[in-house]
Symmetry: C2
Subunit: 157 residues, 2 copies
């Protein structure tokens, strides 16, 4: 267990609208960026510096799906849900600014809604607005996340 993962685990009842979670920083190295893009998003502007300079991004850019995957890492290492955070769905992703190799990202998650699920009485649904910023404080990605968390009453009987 690293220091990142020692936060106490949360049940559904621990999530309150207005609550904010903030992650530690995460640096994306150039090697990591190119490795991810080679496997999952093999496009020139993610792989080839010269082609990237002439592209839409005007320079090497990190794949938006790499940024989304890093946001998930920061989410689950910052917000520890009992038994694991189960993604229910995403309502929206916006990539608002290019992410560059070497950037240092942070995640901020704000709880915007909680409700019980009649179909799954042992879980509740938590809605969060997720904002990823770079080292300049610029927002590079926003996301609306829905996740399941187990109810305390059920998990403790």
């Amino acid at each position: 267990m690293t220091a990142e993962t020692t936060a106490p685990t949360l049940s559904f009842e621990d999530f309150l609208v207005g609550q904010v979670f903030e992650s530690k920083p995460y640096e994306i190295t150039r090697d990591d960026s190119i490795r991810f893009a080679s496997e999952f998003d093999p496009q020139e502007f993610h792989l080839d510096p010269d082609a990237a300079d002439a592209s839409f991004f005007k320079g090497l850019a990190v794949s938006g799906w790499h940024t989304a995957a890093i946001a998930m890492r920061l989410r689950v290492t910052t917000i520890r849900v009992k038994g694991g955070m189960v993604g229910a769905g995403i309502e929206e992703i916006r990539w608002t600014k290019p992410v560059r190799p070497g950037d240092v990202l942070r995640l901020r998650e704000e709880v915007v809604g909680t409700r019980l699920l009649s179909s799954r009485p042992e879980y509740g649904l938590v809605k969060m607005n997720s904002t990823t910023t770079n080292q300049h404080g610029e927002i590079v990605m926003t996301m609306k996340v829905s996740a399941l968390a187990p109810r305390r009453a059920v998990t403790m009987v």
Copy 2:
């Protein structure tokens, strides 16, 4: 260049509502699944078979963000956009069924809208509904994607 990436490149004008693209199959190995989850989604039900058996997923599951990253790979190797496919945003992601290590995924993309952008006259916006299925033909993920493609008239003058 692999065989996957030799399809002709498309401009905005080549996208027509109703058009369907279908990818080749892609197998997710257990090693790949655990490697991705270790880096981006380090939760027990993606990493530890015994803990996974007792979890929400009742068995080892592939991270939903791994499935999303694979869908991007299948998208950009099936639909080759001139200069690269620039993601404008995602309206919705639904993980409709667990993906298991060893599953073989395929992507189907249907063009559901195209329009010009007054803010970027050299590009057009293409909206696609994306469906990822497993080897049993079951839908494991759906997504609503918006991407930019360069206009032919501008890129050819």
